[in-house]
């Protein structure tokens, strides 16, 4: 039995999938704002949301599978929370009742497991009734499959069988085990056997031939005898106890997985509610295949900025379909970094099946998203600044694959413009030839200009806007790279217009 609410065909295994550059992404894209909003103070939801968002889906179909589930969640918030609560309850009852499980005695393991399973059976029953009553309100394939599974697997007759065994396994009538003679004629291959149901009539019992049987008793005072007897009993039930404890674990991990998977959806519900609160729009993006190059949106904003500001923020549009390179130049503090972050956050959210902060959004899925931002100067003085950033670039190159997306924010700026441009040219041309999609915020005019001359067909050139009076609009629009980045404006703003 699998919940499979995050992936159509498998469990969620965060250890396997979380992006190797998680720390960079968190820092460069300000993702903690996103996760904090999703978690609403719940550490578990925080952790799951982070892991899910950072283990991107690579297949548009898988993205749509989750999108549908999220849509169902947004419509049926209360029911989803109820299922989550049931999963939680099961985990807590296990914690209370699992005593004995870690014992060295199979009988304690057995009894502990029985207690937990008895509690689990009750919760499974409630889960099934919920499925029966509420499944019609859900449309997604994921939930449909989940509810169908509950109804099919947890029928009344099945639950009756489970209860019967849980009672039998208390062994009120003694434990029956078969054995053979092993080394030195010591008993071995102890196998727990099912006692025959004695449903014979009184007459039958009198006339049926009783098999030859020898019985011996352990005297009350014989403590070592009593110990030996219970060890023999333990040998007999050992494997059954193991099977039962494992079944308990399996059901437990079913509940754990259910809780984990739902935690992400609870996070999505929380986030959505917050966006509604601050009147920021959201849409479900259209994911395109890995091999194509799509990147088109309207009304995209940096969702993390909106969340931390608590209001809607500047929106931008882009049409970069069939392009590999987007170069963003222009005014200082003109919204370039925010624009870049918005792209990164939207891509991550799309590839986790979520809605994104835009009016419309379509891009191809990528198999890795990497950020290369300026870092604080190396405090240990071990390496120079260019050395440090190129080292990070090299680390990225180690991990990058042809369908990755790279977000470069003022890379190669820690040297003079001519050298920086040359390094940029060499690095980027190689990466682009490999098929990697690059968004590059840069002040390297020489690089930007040359690229503009040579790659106009393959690239999109954007410029942070500036009104004639020098006032920033924070709008990023198409435009060729210009010589100045309007530092003068900034200077004037800060130091006053005229001396």
């Amino acid at each position: 039995m699998k919940a499979h609410l995050l992936y159509r065909d498998r469990d969620f295994a965060p250890e396997r999938t979380v992006a190797p550059n998680e720390r960079d992404l968190m820092q460069d894209l300000h993702l903690n704002v996103l996760f904090d909003t999703m978690a609403l103070g719940d550490k578990f939801i925080l952790d799951v949301s982070r892991k899910v968002v950072l283990s991107s889906l690579g297949d548009p179909e898988a993205v749509l599978y989750r999108q549908d589930i999220i849509k169902d969640c947004l419509k049926n918030c209360l029911i989803v929370k109820e299922i989550y609560a049931l999963a939680l309850e099961s985990l807590e009852s296990e914690k209370e009742l699992h005593w004995g499980i870690f014992s060295r005695y199979p009988s304690s393991i057995l009894n502990g497991s029985i207690s937990v399973l008895e509690a689990f059976v009750e919760i499974l029953k409630r889960l099934r009734s919920l499925a029966e009553e509420r499944s019609s309100a859900f449309q997604s394939e994921g939930f449909a499959q989940f509810f169908r599974m509950l109804k099919e697997e947890l029928s009344d007759s099945y639950i009756a069988v489970v209860k019967y065994h849980l009672k039998q396994l208390r062994f009120r009538g003694g434990v029956l085990i078969s054995a053979e003679l092993g080394k030195g004629s010591q008993g071995t291959r102890y196998v727990l056997r099912k006692t025959r149901d004695v449903k014979k009539s009184f007459i039958q019992r009198i006339f049926s031939k009783k098999p030859t049987e020898y019985t011996f008793h352990i005297p009350d005072r014989d403590e070592s005898g009593a110990k030996a007897l219970s060890e023999l009993r333990d040998r007999g039930i050992n494997l059954a106890a193991n099977a039962l404890a494992q079944s308990k674990d399996h059901i437990l991990s079913f509940f754990q997985m259910l809780r984990t998977e739902l935690a992400f959806y609870l996070g999505c519900m929380n986030l959505h509610a917050r966006l509604v609160e601050i009147a920021a729009r959201a849409c479900f993006p259209v994911p395109a295949g890995l091999e194509v190059r799509r990147h088109t949106f309207t009304g995209l904003y940096d969702l993390c900025l909106a969340l931390s500001e608590g209001r809607s923020v500047v929106e931008n549009d882009l049409n970069a379909d069939n392009r590999n390179l987007v170069v963003i130049t222009g005014a200082n503090q003109g919204g370039k970094s925010t624009f870049l972050r918005g792209i990164g956050v939207a891509q991550l959210m799309m590839q986790s099946g979520m809605f994104v902060g835009a009016s419309q959004f379509c891009s191809n899925v990528c198999d890795g998203i990497f950020t290369h931002y300026k870092r604080e100067e190396d405090v240990t003085m071990k390496s120079g600044k260019l050395d440090e950033e190129l080292k990070r670039m090299s680390a990225i190159v180690d991990k990058v694959s042809p369908n990755s997306i790279l977000l470069l924010n003022e890379s190669f700026a820690s040297t003079n413009e001519r050298e920086g441009s040359e390094v940029a040219r060499q690095v980027l041309s190689a990466l682009l030839d490999a098929g990697i999609k690059i968004f590059f915020v840069t002040h390297l005019h020489k690089f930007a200009r040359e690229s503009f001359e040579r790659q106009r067909q393959k690239a999109v050139f954007l410029r942070a806007g500036r009104q004639a009076d020098g006032e920033r609009t924070f709008k990023i629009l198409e435009g060729e790279p210009l010589q100045t980045s309007f530092g003068e404006d900034l200077y004037r703003n800060i130091f006053g217009v005229d001396n």
Binding site: I109, E153, E180, S185
Partner: protein, 497 residues
């Protein structure tokens, strides 16, 4: 093979043969193999006899057969030991039964393996004949048959225990179903990935407790024929072990242990060969030989020993080893002694190709720490020991001398050394003499001078190569001078510059 109870010969420590034997016999205490290694053979044919067996055993399949036979016999002995320690009758008898079963199996596969083996040695051919006859004998076949029947009967015993509080009922098994499987099937649908193992590992105690024993008694009541038969079997089969087989089991380990020991060194690329052993010629040689004890020690430490050659021709009898300290002089002398001793045991020896002399006695004269008790000075002690040796030695003896007379003046040492060497030359004895006295290396046509060498560029580095050349006493000093740019050439250069 003569079942020797020989004590360790006097020279064992000096030649580090004691270390070698300890390693060889380390895992084989039960066979008491040391006496074999303490008893050199006295004639060439006996040595050839062992060489043949060794060569046969170098065939991998046969060697494996011997090992497998040994393993089974060892297991059999362990069974007997345990059986003796057990308290409950049925259990004791079952262990005895298993011991006999192991024995039968061991002998049967030994016989099959020998039949298929391609044997050349007199020793193993004789063994094959014996084992064939034994396996076909009535004694053995009835033992096999009865053992097999009993094992089969015991294996068919199946019973059930109904365990309640304070009592156990025992009855025959009556096809009751496996309840665990049913429980597992019930919960099958919840199965997730790999699960933690909650099964408790019960220690397999060989000593039954009294509850198990009582249960077993009840089982014996349920199957009386089987257990009565077992009891009778144990009474009648106590002397099942054939004496010749038992002797073979021990003796073959002499060969196996030695071959196992040298296998790892061979694997490292070191050569071993069957020397031509002679008692008629004193021409001896061995190429790429080495100190076996050192080779093993270095093998354990992960490095490899340096090989050396020697060849005494015509009238040459005495190898005089000089040269820098720690250059491998003593090691070389030891190797010479070891080779001759190992050859006299009929073992393969270190080296690519060898001819060695079968001596009547081997003597060593190594430096001893000064002993206060005997009240003599060290020099006196040295001389007394020489006296003993020369009194006992014959022209067929071998003497290994290491740094004699180091505790006196050079003049005294030279004088005494010459006297001793003269006596040795008179006796025409094969000898290795490690000395710092260069003059001893050119006393007569009987002496051969060999020198330990160094790397000229870095005198601190040892090559451990012993080469045949005059002892000039200069090579070492010169290379040190070179290092400090004090050779006449370098000094001139420097003074010019």
């Amino acid at each position: 093979m003569t079942t020797a109870t020989a004590e360790m010969p006097a020279f064992f420590r000096d030649l580090n043969l004691d270390q070698i034997v300890i390693v060889i016999t380390a895992a084989k205490d039960e066979y008491n193999l040391k006496p074999y290694f303490h008893a050199p053979l006295k004639n060439v044919d006996a040595i050839m006899y062992r060489h043949e067996v060794m060569r046969d055993l170098e065939k991998k399949t046969l060697f494996e057969s011997m090992n497998s036979f040994a393993r089974k016999m060892r297991e059999m002995r362990e069974h007997l030991v345990r059986a003796k320690k057990l308290y409950y009758k049925h259990q004791r008898e079952s262990w005895f039964l298993d011991a006999v079963e192991l024995y039968c199996g061991a002998v049967q596969s030994l016989s099959e393996d020998l039949d298929q083996a391609d044997l050349d040695s007199r020793g193993l051919l004789a063994l094959r004949d014996y084992v064939q006859r034994y396996v076909q004998s009535d004694v053995f076949s009835s033992l096999v048959a009865e053992t097999g029947n009993l094992k089969h009967d015991l294996a068919t015993v199946q019973y059930c225990l109904l365990i309640k509080y304070g009592s156990i009922s025992v009855r025959r098994y009556d096809s009751e179903t496996d309840y665990r499987a049913e429980v597992e099937a019930t919960f099958e649908k919840f199965k997730q990935a790999a699960a933690k193992d909650y099964a408790i590992k019960f220690s397999a105690s060989e000593q039954m407790n009294h509850v198990e024993a009582q249960a077993l008694d009840c089982v014996a009541e349920l199957y009386p024929d089987v257990f009565l038969h077992l009891g009778a079997y144990c009474d009648s089969r106590t002397g099942y072990l054939d004496e010749t087989i038992a002797t073979f089991d021990r003796e073959i380990q002499f060969y196996v242990s030695f071959l196992e020991f040298i296998a790892e060194l061979k694997h490292q690329g070191l050569d071993f060969c069957y020397p031509k052993v002679t008692d008629s010629s004193k021409e001896v040689y061995d190429f790429d030989c080495f100190d076996l004890a050192l080779a093993h020690k270095l093998y354990v430490e992960g490095s490899q020993v340096v090989c050396n050659d020697f060849h005494l021709m015509g009238n040459e009898r005495i190898i005089v080893v000089s040269g820098p300290n720690q250059g491998g002089k003593t090691t070389f002398a030891r190797a010479f002694g070891q080779l001759h001793y190992l050859a006299s045991l009929g073992c393969p020896v270190p080296g690519r190709k060898a001819q060695l002399f079968l001596c009547d006695r081997l003597f060593t004269h190594f430096e001893k720490a000064e002993t206060v008790q005997n009240g003599r000075g060290k020099l006196q002690d040295d001389l007394m020991r020489f006296h003993e040796i020369l009194k006992a030695a014959t022209s067929r003896s071998i003497i290994i001398m290491n740094e004699m007379f180091s505790s006196t003046t050079l003049r005294d040492a030279l004088f005494l050394g010459k006297r001793i060497m003269e006596r040795i030359m008179d006796l025409d004895i094969l000898c290795v003499c490690v000395t710092f006295i260069d003059e001893l290396s050119c006393l007569s046509e009987k002496t051969v001078s060999v020198v330990s060498t160094i790397v000229p560029e870095d005198p601190a580095l040892r090559t451990y190569k012993i080469v045949r050349k005059p002892a000039d006493g200069l090579a070492y000093a010169l290379s040190i001078a070179e290092k400090h740019r004090l050779t006449s050439e370098r000094l001139r250069e420097r003074l010019r510059g």
